[in-house]
């Protein structure tokens, strides 16, 4: 399989994430869309690391490992981020009885 299919897939996921983040008002959905964007990037990184040496040698056993380590980092940071983000959303809900992101502009005043 060629690399371009992986790229297309992650591009589509990323665009879905962006569109979702821009258009939805529900903050949990916006949050999920951001996760989707992160994971599309993760997918891309994994694909590159797998396919990096493939055109040279189809049975290559040594692969570029640094990208995979990167992915683990991103997943860990994302997990931490999720816990903080969800906590914020919970607090938002407690204060406003809503999770509409447009209510976040209350900080302005």
């Amino acid at each position: 399989m060629e690399i371009k299919w992986y790229i297309f897939l992650s591009l589509i996921l990323f665009c879905i994430g962006i569109i979702g983040a821009l258009t939805r008002r529900n903050s949990i959905i916006v949050f999920m869309c951001i996760e989707l964007m992160l994971n599309s990037v993760n997918l891309l990184l994994i694909a590159f690391s797998k396919m990096h040496l493939a055109p040279v040698n189809a049975f290559a056993t040594t692969m570029a490992t640094s990208a995979q380590i990167f992915v683990f980092f991103i997943m860990i940071v994302a997990a931490a981020e999720v816990s903080v983000g969800l906590a914020i959303i919970v607090m938002l809900y407690r204060n406003t009885r809503s999770i509409d992101i447009n209510f976040l502009n209350r900080l302005k005043n």
Binding site: I18, A21, L22, V30, I101, L104, N105, K108
Partner: protein, 640 residues
């Protein structure tokens, strides 16, 4: 100890007086201030006398005393040096001697000032004398220039002494600006000298044995003519010659003793001194000498004509100073340097006397200066009257008073150049006699024309004012005998003989056709008789002066001083004002301010618009973030 080693004390003492009086003006009493102010000048005078006796020793040669390096730039070394010769010595005596009398006189004249005003006045007076002493003692043009600027500053401070009246400030500014124009010429001349010869020291330039000027120059070379003309521009400003004379009559705004100091001892004689000091340079430039003589003569006559119709006692004296300075320049211009210096000296005596006596009159009149409101003062103020009379005789050139000898010397030197100069100069002398006797008669004779209050107030001035008057009167009466013409007494011209070492080297460049002794004698007798006739005519005409009808025609032109101030105003001041107005309104307000304010307004407006982006809506922030990302992508794509 040798007196010459103490020469630095002469200017230092007035400087010390200036510092004490200036710094202690709020703490020292008036008596102490007056005493210190006068005492330092008196000590300087004593030193000057001592030095004079040293200088008049037959074995004396010109002394240069160098103290330290003042300016060291590349090959140019300008030391802070003094030069002592006969010319310096004469000026030292005039400045400190007459200056001292004026200081003493001021103690009474200014007694109504506040304590700090009194201190300020005396400190300025001391500084004035200090600057003038530096000017005449300096051994090169740079040191002279320090004093030159110093007297300019002091005249500004003293003319505007009563600074609460705006007219006085304007007069002070006028004096300062007019002097600056002259100073410009002086500076340029100095730069030119440095560029040509690399030195400004007198002993490098004018030394008769190996001086640069005497060795290298040819007569009337363009550079020499240029330098001398520029120096003369400086002298025009300082010594009030056409066209820069208008500041001097306005300088009457200051206290009267200041006028006396400016006119007699300091300031206006600086130009004469400078040209006399540069006599070798000037004698190498006959063209410049002709210009000097021409301008001097024109000033002498022009100012004398204006003085005919002035009614302010100080203005008449001011114009007479301008006129007398014109005679001095005429003397310099025809190469009679020692005669010019002689006239400086006699003029210092009688002009100081005239101003101080006028101050005594003004004092008695309670500040009134208009002679049409005076009259009959002779009965009430005997000493002032007699001394003023002697000074008038002296300035009019009536024998045997001081002015007769010095003016006659200048005029006979002018005759040696050309009879035309003589006739014009003599015409001016007749005018002098006329306006001085008019002034005398209107002030001291006839009926009193002021208010009864003033008449009641009339009194003779106190002794501190009259004693200087008497001393100066004696000097004005007898001072002329220092320069009796050779015609009457062999070797009678003491001052010319005394000064001859200074001027002997320029003699060779100046050609004159000396008139015979008979011609001289005839001129002398005829001129004296004519002057006396004119004086008596003026005296009788104005003795019974009542109220004059309004002037018309030429008289009106004269009494308005030929509208010179108005012409200057129209030619220089108004265009300058409108140019400033134009630059202010158009260039500055619209141009410079427009740019500055425009930048501010643009930023302000832009910020106002950009502020709207900060809406607080998370969605729009995200959108902007995405747009930013996209822009980065696009940039990435196109900058490969």
């Amino acid at each position: 100890m040798d007196a010459i080693q103490l020469i630095y004390l002469i200017p230092l003492l007035p400087l010390v007086g200036f510092l004490i009086n200036g710094l202690g003006r709020n703490t020292l009493s008036k008596t102490v201030t007056g005493f210190i102010g006068s005492a330092v000048i008196f000590l300087s005078f004593c030193l000057s006398v001592w030095i004079f006796f040293n200088v008049s020793d037959p074995g004396f040669t010109t002394q240069n005393i160098s103290y330290f390096n003042f300016i060291n730039v590349g090959k140019l070394h300008i030391p802070f040096e003094f030069q002592l010769d006969q010319l310096t010595s004469v000026f030292l005596l005039i400045i400190t001697g007459v200056g001292f009398l004026i200081h003493v006189y001021s103690i009474s004249y200014m007694k109504d000032e506040t304590q700090s005003g009194f201190g300020r006045y005396f400190s300025y007076l001391n500084l004035f004398v200090f600057s003038m002493l530096i000017l005449v003692l300096g051994g090169n043009y740079v040191i002279m220039f320090i004093g030159w600027e110093g007297v300019g500053l002091c005249s500004y401070l003293l003319i505007g002494f009563w600074f609460k009246d705006h007219a006085n400030n304007n007069a002070a500014k006028k004096a300062f600006v007019m002097n600056r124009i002259g100073d410009m010429g002086f500076l340029l001349a100095m730069f030119w000298l440095v560029a040509l010869y690399g030195t400004v020291s007198y002993h490098d330039l004018y030394n008769p044995d190996n001086g640069i000027i005497t060795a290298l120059s040819t007569i009337n070379s363009p550079a020499i003519v240029g330098i001398t003309l520029l120096f003369f521009v400086g002298a025009m400003g300082k010594s009030a010659q056409i066209p820069l004379y208008t500041w001097l009559p306005d300088a009457m705004a200051g206290p009267t003793p200041v006028s006396a100091l400016i006119h007699a001892a300091t300031m206006v004689t600086a130009g004469i001194y400078m040209i006399a000091r540069s006599n070798i340079l000037y004698s190498l430039a006959p063209t410049t000498l002709a210009v000097v003589a021409g301008i001097g003569l024109a000033t002498a006559i022009f100012a004398a004509i204006i003085a005919l119709k002035q009614n302010d006692i100080k203005k008449v004296l001011a114009y007479s100073t301008v006129s007398q300075l014109g005679y001095m320049f005429l003397g310099l211009g025809v190469g009679a340097f020692s005669s010019a210096v002689f006239h400086v000296m006699t003029h210092a005596f009688f002009k100081a006397l005239l101003f101080l006596a006028a101050g005594s009159v003004i004092h008695a009149m309670g500040g009134e200066q208009d002679i049409t409101k005076m009259g009959g003062l002779g009965k009430k103020m005997k000493i002032t009257y007699v001394t003023f009379f002697i000074a008038t005789l002296a300035i009019s050139g009536i024998p045997p008073f001081a002015g007769f000898f010095s003016k006659d010397e200048i005029l006979s030197a002018a005759f040696a150049q050309s009879p035309v100069l003589y006739i014009l100069g003599f015409g001016g002398a007749l005018l002098t006699a006329f306006y001085m006797f008019r002034l005398m008669a209107m002030t001291f004779k006839g009926k009193f024309r002021g208010t009864p209050e003033q008449e009641h107030h009339l009194h003779e001035s106190p002794a501190t004012m009259t004693v200087p008057l008497i001393i100066l009167a004696v000097l004005s009466a007898l001072g002329g005998f220092l320069g009796v013409p050779e015609l009457f007494v062999k070797d009678g011209n003491l001052i010319a003989n005394f000064l001859s070492p200074v001027f002997e080297h320029s003699k060779q460049f100046i050609t004159t056709n000396e008139p015979g002794p008979q011609t001289d004698l005839i001129l002398l007798v005829v001129s004296s008789v004519l002057i006396i006739v004119v004086a008596i005519w003026a005296w009788n005409k104005y003795k019974k002066y009542t109220i004059e009808e309004a002037e018309s025609g030429f008289g009106k032109l004269i009494s308005n001083k030929f509208y010179v101030d108005e012409i200057y105003d129209a030619i220089f001041v108004q265009p300058y004002r409108s140019l400033s107005g134009f630059l202010n309104n158009v260039f500055d307000r619209r141009g410079v301010d427009g740019i500055v304010n425009g930048v501010g307004k643009t930023v302000n407006y832009g910020s106002r618009q950009l502020r709207l982006l900060q809406s607080g809506r998370v969605g729009s922030y995200l959108l902007l973030m995405v747009i930013g990302l996209l822009i980065l992508f696009i940039i990435q794509l196109f900058t490969k």
